[in-house]
């Protein structure tokens, strides 16, 4: 028996018993549709959240800030340590392998003016590394450069909110601003990251970044703080670095440099992000669990339906089986024919299920957009593959017994049945 003929025979048996096939296939269709739709849904939503996390740019980021020691002894010795310094960043960069990049930050609030517009803003003085460390996106102009730092250049990059407040729709790059009483030249404007609504549009982190004015660290020390004291460091660890090890090394190195006086604290943002990611992952896992339960139950139901229909089909076709055997069909050929028929029926159901699943996914996407959510749920190719594999497995597993039953029939008995 040709495989093609067996497939044809399977399709013919679907066609000749339309209602029965529809009832049989219902479970398989629902199961496969559930797999496709849920995989797309969970994958789409989760994918979007992971993207937001990446945009946030705080993975593997630590902040080291100045802090007055809590204990009296430490307080007593405070004068023995100079606090966070530019040199500390050089030492950390050299000694801690886990560090990908580090920038000292001098930060203070000033009134910023442009023409007749003015607002208060955080003046964030850092090295050019800071921009890539925190994964800022450039809107117009350029970032700060090493040359700017070397030359104490009075140049500034504006957060998008500051830019809008001071310049509205007009171009800011090339214009001059006043920070306090000092003139600065605008060389660039940041662009806000495009977070999804699920992520609260990026939240406060996003606002903070864009309510700042960024200037070279040297200009910051010279014109803004007036001292060499650093407010904090922003550190990014390497992607595959162990967070705890990196944290400890930074802590220990700084302690040594500060004569064992803990006049700094490390804010472990990376750890918080990691935990937030894990929470999302747990939700995704829960959804995946629900998804697999629905899929398993409906495929089981579908499989049992398929099994009963195949048994009926074998009984209806005893004569056919007898004839085939009488003209020389081996058991194996009969087995193969019925198994292929079973898989044909289940794959047919699977394909319909994929269609329904894709439809459901589009509907969910449409529904989310209708409710004002800025989400497109992509149809998951993996989900389609998974759904179809389930259908094939159901066809094989539940077709096995009827196929064996058919193949083992005695041709004389089978042929004498008047079915």
């Amino acid at each position: 028996m040709d495989i093609l003929e067996s497939i044809g025979s399977g399709l013919a048996s679907i066609w000749s018993h339309k209602l029965r096939s529809a009832l049989t296939l219902f479970g398989i269709i629902v199961g496969v549709a559930a797999v496709v739709a849920m995989t797309s849904f969970v994958g789409g939503i989760a994918g979007r959240i992971w993207e937001d996390f990446d945009k946030l740019g705080l993975d593997n980021v630590l902040f080291v800030a100045n802090m007055r020691p809590m204990n009296p002894e430490g307080y007593a010795y405070l004068k023995a340590s100079k606090g966070l310094s530019f040199e500390d960043t050089e030492i950390l960069r050299a000694e801690v392998d886990e560090i990908l990049g580090i920038t000292p930050v001098v930060a203070d609030y000033r009134v910023v003016r442009a023409g007749s517009e003015a607002r208060r803003a955080e003046i964030f003085a850092a090295t050019p590394d800071g921009f890539f460390l925190l994964k800022f996106i450039l809107g117009q102009g350029r970032f700060l450069s090493d040359l700017d730092v070397e030359n104490n250049a009075r140049v500034a990059v504006l957060g998008e909110i500051v830019k809008e407040d001071l310049f509205g729709e007009a171009d800011a790059v090339g214009e001059n601003i006043l920070i306090g009483d000092e003139h600065f030249h605008v060389v660039g404007v940041l662009r806000q990251k495009d977070f999804s609504d699920m992520f609260g549009g990026g939240g406060n982190e996003q606002r903070e970044e864009h309510e700042r004015v960024y200037i070279p660290i040297t200009a910051g020390m010279h014109y803004i703080s007036g001292t060499k004291r650093i407010a904090y460091f922003a550190v990014r660890l390497k992607k595959d670095a162990d967070l705890a090890t990196g944290y400890d090394k930074i802590h220990n190195t700084l302690l040594r440099e500060h004569r064992q006086i803990e006049d700094f604290q490390i804010e472990n943002v990376a750890e918080e992000i990691l935990q937030a990611r894990q929470q999302v992952q747990e939700i995704v896992n829960t959804w995946n669990g629900i998804l697999s339960t629905i899929a398993t139950v409906s495929l089981l139901v579908g499989g049992i339906g398929l099994l009963s229909v195949l048994i009926i089909s074998v009984n209806e076709r005893l004569r056919e089986i007898g004839i085939r055997k009488a003209v020389g069909a081996e058991n194996r050929a009969v087995f193969q024919q019925f198994l292929i028929e079973s898989v044909t029926i289940s794959v047919f159901g699977g394909l319909v299920g994929v269609g329904v699943g894709v439809g459901l996914t589009k509907l969910m996407s449409f529904g989310a957009q209708a409710m004002g959510q800025d989400i497109v749920i992509p149809v998951s190719g993996g989900g389609i593959l998974l759904g179809l594999s389930f259908a094939i497995i159901v066809g094989v597993v539940f077709g096995l017994y009827p196929a064996i039953k058919a193949s083992k029939l005695d041709p004389i008995e089978a042929i004498s049945k008047h079915a």
């Binding site: 028996m1 013919a12 004569r319 055997k325 003209v327 050929a333 042929i415």
Partner: protein
């Protein structure tokens, strides 16, 4: 000798009773012979036909077909002998209802293996032409008369060019006129040199053969020239 059986017996174990359908049949049939196996129902003639047709195996005794010992064969090997050596014609035609005549007739070629689809169709069409069904190739069995169906089943029996044509009550479901037409085809095949064995309880049908073997109570009761 094409067919040689020695002391064939067949018993069925039906729980409490053991039914002895064949009780020692020794029979020889030469190539090209036209033989009728006769007997009332329950005589064991059907069992004998099933064993000769390799649909069943004897309980004891030997069966040599075309020089090969087939009484020892099982499952797969038996299926192969059926496919290559035997062409069955059944009382109730036994055609597949859902496919056309070409597909029905090419069925033995499908299980022969190694014959391409096109070649199978070609041979099936030729076999159908030989029994005068050229105009019915695309028809399904239920669109045909009884006589046409039986001619189609003869075409199927011959398509593999088997050593033996084994007809079980070939006219049983047909009216007299059509029955005579079918017997005429078998006569013609015999004349062409085919070995034809007809199993029947009808002496008019048996009369077409050149030799009649009568089975009663599981043994050969009489044997003679028609």
């Amino acid at each position: 000798m094409l067919i040689r059986t020695e002391n064939l017996t067949k018993s069925y174990d039906l729980g409490a009773v053991e039914v002895r359908a064949l009780r020692g049949v020794t029979l020889g049939i030469e190539e090209g012979e036209y033989v009728a196996i006769m007997g009332p129902s329950g005589s064991g003639k059907s069992t004998l036909m099933h064993i000769i047709g390799c649909l069943d195996t004897p309980s004891t005794g030997r069966y040599v077909l075309n020089g090969a010992e087939v009484s020892e064969l099982k499952g797969r090997a038996l299926a192969r002998v059926r496919n290559k050596e035997i062409g069955f014609v059944f009382q109730n035609f036994n055609l597949l209802p859902r496919v056309d005549l070409v597909a029905n007739v090419s069925l033995p070629l499908v299980y022969h293996g190694g014959i391409a689809r096109g070649a199978r169709r070609e041979q099936a069409v030729k076999a159908l032409e030989a029994v005068g069904l050229t105009h019915r190739l695309k028809h399904r069995p239920n669109e045909l008369s009884g006589g046409e169906r039986q001619r189609a089943s003869i075409a199927r029996a011959l398509v593999n060019e088997p050593s033996i044509l084994l007809a079980d009550e070939p006219t049983g479901n047909l009216d007299q006129k059509t029955g005579r037409e079918i017997m005429a085809i078998l006569d013609e095949l015999s004349k062409e040199g085919k070995t034809v064995i007809v199993v029947t309880h009808d002496s008019n049908v048996a009369a077409h053969a050149r030799r009649i073997v009568e089975i009663e109570d599981g043994v050969i009761a009489r044997e003679g020239r028609a």
